[in-house]
Amino acid sequence: MHSSDDQEETVINFGDALYKARKQQKFSIEEIAEQLKVPSQIISALEQSELSQLPSATYTRGYLRAYAKYLEIKDTDMLADYDRIVPHNVPLKPRSNLPNEKSSQSPLFKTVTFVLIILGVLALIYGGYQYYNKQSAQLKASSQALAEQHASEVSSVDNPKLTLLPQPLHESQNTPASTKEVESGSKMYSNQSAVDTIGSNSSTGTQHNKTPTIAVNNKIKATTKVVDKLKTRKPATLVSVLKQGVVKTDTIELLAKKGAWVKITDATGKRLHYGMISGKKWQAYSGKAPFNVSMGNARSTKIRINHLNADISSYIRPNNTAQFKLSTTKHNGQQIIRFQ
């Protein structure tokens, strides 16, 4: 902390005031040294402002203050003078000003990092949003693809023709399961429902389709509609149709012009009809043969099974009722009706 700046020394003499005051109060250097416990050469160095003789600033300033206090003079001016020659108490530099300081405390670094972090967070949010959008789009696409796949499968089942019935919705497929499902809730009128059976429909032979209401060729759009309707109404049907493909089923048709009470159950024990039949139209029920039929007003009622007219006259009881089991079998390459 020693300053060897000779020019400055000669210009500023901070010790002059001390010297004058001491002379005025008639103290000797030794007396002062004795009182302040400071060596006499330092006292004279203070008076002559000889920086080379003086210790570091902390001590010198302390001596100056003590000396001034002892002589009862003001010390502010001389301390200010001293500080001008020997700058000390350099204010601490902020960390960013230090050499070799790669510190995070630099304001620029701080700002940049802050901005980067904010940008990072924004990017994350945007990325997340994009990802979510993509995911939902994918989900949509996959569900659409699934629906189309279902549709194409259904269309392959119904190939080449598909029938749409307005009311009740009915899709007459050549699968017993689907037929059962469809019929379980709704009546099916034979003259309304008509489907060209495909070749794989083995045992039942050909069906007569009289009045197909709306026939749509295998257009995917329409099929999708059907599938959607089926999906909304009876998803199990769709699945069973898709899974089981073409399975054989039997049809029983009744015509009771004067009206008849009929109960029909199929081989699985499922009740196909229970109640009155009337009207001028054939009424068809599908199920697994043999069908167990109990009926009233049997004389005026006609029955067909798999499009073969059945003669039930021998089963008609005197009270005009009949009860029989009805099925078809192959005999010498021909379908024949069999009563049990």
Partner: protein, 349 residues
């Protein structure tokens, strides 16, 4: 870990002089940012088992000392330079650290350098370290108080020359001889400003039969306290409770009486300095004799204390500039030096 660093980016490095009487905080690049008494007022409602809340810190709490109702206690969590109440100290530090940070969004996580008395045991140091960490510090450095005081007083600690520093704090007085950035000899006596107050209280009770409070005795010390007989005789009018009558009475005290009352604690300090001089290696002792002893700490503001030590030791005694903040400022400079030279510098733990 990352979060700490991130928060640290927005926190200032702090040097804390966690004193018995006052806590000072020096922030890098900003100077002394906090100077508050180490007092905390705790409110405990609903009886002795009730929940405790902090009522006030610092100056506010100090005003409550000795003036609290039943549900509030104003306490000083530091005693004799070390932690007496861990939890309260932690809360107080936390409050002060937050107070010196403007940002209210992020919890500050500064690097903190805390000055501890050189006589503090390992347990006491650990307590200070943990309470600072609990208060949110990212990294805690501990440094011996006299070292920080010497650096703060701008003493040439890096020279191969002995420098003696005497730091008189609220709870302890530390004397050390420093050379080449290290402490050669250090001693700590549990005598400080508090002991002065206590001595004054005892003196008044013994000689006047009047009881005065902590705050009053401190005021007496500040206004007329002296360590060496001076030319002027100062007087002060104080009020206290007369022990025999039980009624508050007013009476006057003069500086000579206070000088008399302070003899015992002053003797403790002087003898610590003498012991230090005895224990100092001769070469360093010679350096000290040539340049003198530097006084720092709030206790150094006691009138004519430098004169007393000067007379007792026969060595020049120099008062540091702004002795109250020396330790905190020194700590700040040490933080800067740590950044420059690494953590092993200046015997920092």
């Amino acid at each position: 870990m990352f979060m700490n660093r991130f928060r640290g980016m927005f926190s200032n490095d702090l040097s804390i002089d966690l004193g018995t009487a006052n806590t000072l905080i020096y922030a890098r690049g900003r100077g002394i940012v906090l100077d508050e008494p180490s007092v905390v007022a705790i409110r405990q409602d609903r009886g002795p088992g009730g929940p405790k809340t902090i009522e006030a810190y610092g100056k506010h709490a100090k005003g409550m000392l000795g003036r609290t109702p039943q549900n509030i206690t104003a306490i000083r969590p530091m005693r004799d330079g070390v932690i007496a109440d861990f939890n309260v100290t932690e809360k107080m530090l936390q409050h002060f650290i937050r107070q010196v940070h403007e940002s209210k969004i992020l919890r500050p996580s500064p690097r903190v350098l805390i000055c501890v008395p050189c006589g503090a045991t390992q347990v006491e140091r650990r307590a200070i370290r943990e309470s600072a960490a609990g208060a949110g510090a990212r990294k805690v450095y501990l440094i011996d108080e006299p070292m920080a005081a010497a650096v703060g007083a701008d003493m040439p600690v890096d020279e191969p020359k002995g420098s003696m520093v005497l730091d008189i704090g609220g709870g302890t007085s530390e004397v050390a001889v420093i050379s080449l950035n290290g402490i050669v000899y250090s001693a700590s006596v549990r005598v400080g400003g508090d002991k002065f107050d206590e001595a004054i209280t005892n003196y008044v009770r013994r000689n006047y039969g009047i009881l005065i409070g902590e705050a009053t005795s401190e005021r007496i010390k500040h206004e007329i306290g002296t360590a060496y007989p001076g030319k002027d005789l100062l007087e002060i009018e104080v009020k206290g409770r007369n022990l025999s009558e039980g009624i508050p009475r007013s009476f006057s005290l003069n500086s000579n009486e206070i000088l008399e009352s302070l003899q015992e604690p002053l003797h403790g300090i002087v003898s610590a300095v003498k012991t230090a001089l005895e224990q100092t290696p001769p070469e360093l002792g010679a350096d000290v004799a040539e340049r003198g002893i530097v006084l720092t700490g709030g206790g150094a503001l006691l009138r004519d204390l430098d004169r007393l030590i000067m007379e007792e030791t026969g060595l020049p005694v120099v008062m540091a500039e702004d002795p109250l903040t020396c330790v905190a400022r020194g700590g700040g400079r040490v933080l800067e030096l740590i950044d420059k030279h690494g953590g092993d510098f200046l015997a920092v733990e």
